[in-house]
């Protein structure tokens, strides 16, 4: 049971985000970390490989500057190895271009199952895993809240508006998991030490056989024409609770005729 987990290394979400004034792309300088949303996929993959009685968990990531700090976190959790695509020509790549790169990298790992988060925390386009599935010619099941392997099939509880659907697919398949589905383990000291000997294969776009006009800003075929301040809300009344907080809320609701 070989599982690939697509992970994104993102700027710390606690730091204020910014746009490059020229390209209007998100600034992705400084240290990148493992997107929290991806820790669930990594944990899920480790549990599924365990339950299947063996197999490897391989990470696939695309990041600028040969960044591996987020990959190290996931390797310390227990993933066996990583494939990193890092190339200057990838600056400004959109979701579809990213899917092309990830699909080519995933194909090399010959997985039985590909896991990803439903969307990243920084860009949150939410389409990349399914675009990648289409390029790989694989079925996809998004918004999984429970994933089980049964023989050569994957069984998923998929979130719906009114509850969940039970969905089954033959393997290989792409599954996206929602946050909170499993509890990601903390990397142990032993796990952290072990990452030193784990392989991170770093590839360029040319290594993957992708034409450079398919990726980067040129490949994205869309442009940001304007960034403007949104209409600000008028400042409200902010008061310190002196034991009357609840009554103030009730008075506010009464005035709106909600109660």
């Amino acid at each position: 049971m070989n599982v690939v987990v697509c992970v994104k290394q993102i700027p710390d979400p606690a730091a204020p985000p910014a746009l490059d004034p020229g390209t209007k792309n998100l600034v992705r300088e400084g240290k990148l970390i493992l997107d929290d949303s991806d820790s669930y996929g990594v944990e899920m993959a480790l549990q599924l490989a365990d339950a299947a009685g063996g197999g490897e968990v391989t990470l696939v990531s695309m990041a600028p500057g040969g960044e591996t700090s987020g990959l190290r976190t996931a390797l310390a959790m227990g993933a066996a190895k990583a494939i990193l695509v890092s190339d200057d020509v990838l600056a400004g790549t959109d979701a579809l271009g990213t899917a092309k790169v990830l699909a080519a990298a995933v194909r090399r790992a010959e997985p039985d199952l590909v896991l990803a988060a439903t969307e990243s925390t920084d860009g949150y386009t939410g389409t990349t895993p399914v675009q990648m599935a289409e390029l790989l010619g694989l079925p996809s099941i998004t918004f999984a809240k429970k994933v089980e392997i049964e023989g050569s099939s994957v069984k998923v509880q998929r979130q719906t508006e009114s509850g969940y659907d039970e969905v089954e697919s033959p393997l290989p398949a792409v599954v996206t998991v929602t946050a909170g589905v499993v509890e990601p383990r903390y990397p142990s000291f032993k796990g952290i030490m072990a990452t030193k000997s784990k392989s991170v294969e770093t590839l360029t776009v040319a290594d993957l056989g992708i034409e450079t006009d398919q990726v980067g800003a040129a490949g994205s075929r869309q442009q940001v024409t304007e960034v403007a301040d949104a209409e600000a809300r008028t400042a409200g009344e902010i008061v310190v609770d002196e034991g009357d907080g609840a009554q103030r809320i009730i008075a506010f609701l009464e005035q709106l005729k909600v109660v």
Binding site: T127, S140, R158, A230, G236, V240, R248, L256
Partner: protein
């Protein structure tokens, strides 16, 4: 009109088109000469009537999906029409679980980019431009495609009002699916409807949401009780969904539901960018948080700087006393 034809993916749930699809049809009427709906499954006269009323002249129905998830078959049918030269200038998808799947599949099939998290659509330079709320909604980014081919937009719920046009029922035509490969192998084998008391999160007039400030998962029932007393729905910040306190279906924000209730009551929520995107357009916002510098207070109409563990029980008592 600068745009000739726009398709809207019309999802049908419980025998009626979902509200986001009706919102998209409404907006499409002001952008395009011809508005058509694309749907799948059984199109009843009632569904065709509603879609027509909101502006679709034609419903292109992909038909029964045989238990498959909509992503592959619906995108294949759309792609076949585009390839045959019968495609639209733009396709608008609701930002739902299935809507995103169809948009992503179609994008890869046509090798066309897709713009997601759209909150407004306007005419621009002979085509359409989309607007996106970024950085917690403090800024609005405008984007457009620079290439030929159908423009694909995934639009967030409640970006537009849904207003009937008074049009007659839409004509129903089939949108045939070609050969589907092994990518169409996922099957829905069972459906579970979770019991819900009270209104749906994205339709409720009052939403009460809890966050990390509650301190512990066993405090979340305070939120549920408050929501029940206010005949509203209980929501959550991403932090407590990630922590496993409540299911994903409760999540309000960038990665969750967009809500626009009459009153949004944020309890122990700091107001991270991620959360503000999903609720800042609520008509009235009340926030309770012990940190007076919490960003949630920047959007609150009434902010109580205080301890949720004191304010919420008092609020529940006070509401009960009112009867």
């Amino acid at each position: 009109m600068t745009v000739e034809t726009v398709w809207v993916l019309a999802e049908v749930n419980d025998g009626a088109p979902i509200s986001t699809s009706l919102e998209l049809l409404t907006q499409a009427r002001s952008l395009a000469t011809t508005v058509e709906a694309v749907t799948y499954g059984d199109v009843t006269a009632e569904v065709a009537g509603t879609l027509g009323d909101y502006g679709a002249t034609t419903v292109r129905n992909v038909g029964d999906l045989g238990g498959a998830l909509p992503g592959v078959p619906v995108a294949s049918a759309m792609a076949a029409a585009v390839t045959a030269g019968n495609g639209p200038d733009a396709v608008l998808f609701p930002a739902t679980y299935d809507g995103r799947d169809v948009a992503a599949r179609l994008s890869a099939k046509l090798d066309r980019p897709v713009l997601t998290n759209v909150v407004d659509l306007v005419e621009a330079e002979g085509g359409l431009a989309s607007k996106h709320a970024i950085f917690g909604g403090s800024q609005v980014l405008t984007a457009r495609f620079v290439d030929e081919g159908p423009a694909l937009f995934v639009v967030r719920a409640k970006s537009f009002p849904a207003e009937p046009s008074g049009g007659g029922p839409a004509a129903v035509e089939s949108l045939p699916v070609g050969q589907l490969g092994s990518s169409n192998a996922a099957r829905i084998v069972d459906r579970h409807v979770e019991e819900r008391s009270g209104p749906k999160l994205d339709e409720a007039a009052v939403v009460v949401s809890g966050g990390r400030g509650l301190g512990d998962a066993d405090q979340y029932p305070l939120i549920e009780e408050l929501a029940r007393l206010l005949k509203g729905a209980a929501g959550a910040s991403r932090a407590i969904v990630d922590a496993g306190w409540v299911p994903y279906s409760h999540q309000v924000g960038q990665t969750g539901k967009t809500v626009k209730p009459t009153v949004y009551l944020a309890c122990g929520i700091s107001g991270a960018t991620q959360h503000l995107v999903g609720m800042k357009n609520s008509k009235n916002i009340v926030a309770v948080n012990k940190d007076q510098d919490a960003p949630i207070f920047s959007v609150a109409d009434l902010g109580i700087v205080g301890d949720v563990h004191k304010v919420l029980p008092a609020l529940i008592e006070g509401l009960k006393a009112k009867g």
